[in-house]
């Protein structure tokens, strides 16, 4: 029997969380090696396991995969969550890539400077004005249960994850998006998703102050990363 995939990251969501979601949705059991100090991370680098000296890294099927997007695409393709043909695949890619900007600025929100009080408002504005309407329209236009090809795909899992993240910022954010509300209920009832949403699963909680300190010590973040990433939301140019 093949070895379980093994995830190398710190004990938090970050960029690895999307991988955890996708593996869970695919019903794939996995192990995690979660480091807590800069030293552990440096040992991982010195061990030569990280192609670009960065994590996420996932050991899967004999490969040491890095680059979140590459990892997610591999899992999606392997477990039939990437559409039935190339045209469905490109739609899934487009939808997932389109979520990335919003995902990133939510992910980096804890790194805001104290005086950047506008950041949360900015996130919610982008969510309700630019991102959520796109997916509401997709669902409305074709009237099907899932974003692409009338079948659950990586795009649905990622959208569901993102909706929950936005709701952690503002719980009633889906108020004006009836199709997305239905979508959220529908996906949350899928057995594997239900299981992942239970306490005790490998899902990670939102970052708190203690978690932020750990992450900063390991990755040597600078505050102000929010603004840097905030610029990508203006245009993909």
């Amino acid at each position: 029997m093949a070895a379980k995939p093994k995830l190398y990251y710190f004990d938090g969501r970050g960029r690895m969380e999307s991988v955890r979601w996708l593996l869970a949705a695919a019903g794939v059991e996995y192990e995690e090696q979660l480091f807590e100090t800069a030293e552990e991370f440096e040992n991982l680098i010195k061990g030569g396991k990280l192609m670009y000296q960065r994590v996420p890294m996932v050991e899967i099927d004999g490969m040491k995969m890095v680059e979140t997007r590459a990892i997610l695409r591999y899992i999606a393709a392997k477990y039939n969550l990437y559409g039935k043909d190339l045209k469905e695949q490109v739609l899934i890619d487009m939808y997932v890539e389109g979520m990335r900007d919003l995902y990133d600025i939510i992910m980096f929100l804890p790194l805001s400077f104290p005086e950047e009080k506008e950041n949360l408002r900015y996130i919610l504005e982008k969510a309700t004005d630019r991102f959520l309407p796109v997916y509401e329209k997709v669902l409305k236009d074709h009237g099907k249960n899932y974003l692409v090809g009338n079948q659950l795909s990586w795009a649905d899992i990622h959208l569901f994850e993102l909706i929950l993240m936005i709701e952690e910022c503002k719980s009633d954010v889906l108020l004006t998006f009836p199709k997305l509300q239905e979508f959220k209920v529908r996906v949350s009832k899928l057995p594997r998703i239900q299981k992942f949403l239970q306490p005790g699963s490998q899902r990670k909680p939102p970052m708190d102050a203690a978690g932020l300190e750990v992450a900063k010590n390991i990755f040597k973040f600078s505050k102000g990363m929010f603004l840097k990433h905030g610029t990508t939301i203006i245009a993909e140019l």
Binding site: E67, K78, I234, L237
Partner: protein, 222 residues
């Protein structure tokens, strides 16, 4: 006969350049519509062409595709430049996610204020050498083959050549410690469609200049 793909972008490299490379190398003729004013950009948005209000936009096979990496993956797969199985595709994705990140850093450095730009470009060149070229030199050394993945020409090879040439524009000696990459560069540059694309008169775009930077800032209002 299928119509040619149409690329909508500013008349410059930016995020569209990797798409131009891929199409050119695949031998696909394409048309370009250049955005020169904010009005044109807003019109594309109003007409519903831009799913996330962003360019690049590529009209191809009856679709209006946006999101650079979605477009690139589609083209790589369509033109058999994406490996022969999932594992080879995974490697190609790992390599190209890296090269695309590096090219984005280069592109963004041109938007820094003039006094910071040179320093920024120096940093990017250092990063290119230490984090990327070192890695790709090792990959070529370990398998001893002509191409990065599966002993066959793929999108990863196109990307690596593209980024090497870009870095060399700022640092002509960037490959001095990387003999295998030097040989790789020569070998890949001589592939007929690539050789053609590297000639004057092709649709390859020059490095960003002040006019390009100003146009982008005007169109996107930042």
């Amino acid at each position: 006969m299928a119509s040619k793909p149409i690329l909508h972008y500013v008349n410059g490299r930016g995020r569209m350049e990797s798409i131009r490379w891929l199409l050119a190398v695949a031998g696909v003729e394409f048309e370009e519509v250049f955005l020169e004013t904010r009005e044109q950009y807003l019109k594309l948005q109003e007409d519903g062409y831009l799913l996330f209000h962003q360019v690049p936009l590529v009209e191809i096979d009856g679709m209006k595709l946006t999101q650079t990496r979605a477009i690139l993956s589609y083209l790589a797969a369509k033109y058999n430049l994406y490996g022969k199985d999932l594992k080879e595709t995974a490697l190609i994705n790992m390599y190209t996610d890296g090269t695309l990140d590096l090219m984005l850093l280069i592109a963004l450095s041109y938007f820094k204020p003039a006094e910071q730009r040179e320093k920024e470009i120096e940093l990017v060149v250092e990063k290119a050498k230490s984090q990327y070229f070192t890695v790709f030199e090792k990959i070529l050394k370990n398998h001893g083959q002509d191409f990065l993945v599966g002993n066959k020409f793929s999108w990863a090879d196109i990307q690596l050549l593209e980024v090497i040439l870009m870095i060399e524009e700022s640092c002509p000696t960037a490959l001095s410690n990387f003999p295998l990459l030097q040989a790789f560069k020569t070998r890949i540059s001589n592939i007929p469609n690539i050789k053609k694309f590297l000639q004057p008169g092709s649709q390859r775009k020059p490095p960003p200049d002040d006019h390009y930077v100003a146009t982008v800032k005007e169109i996107l209002q930042f």
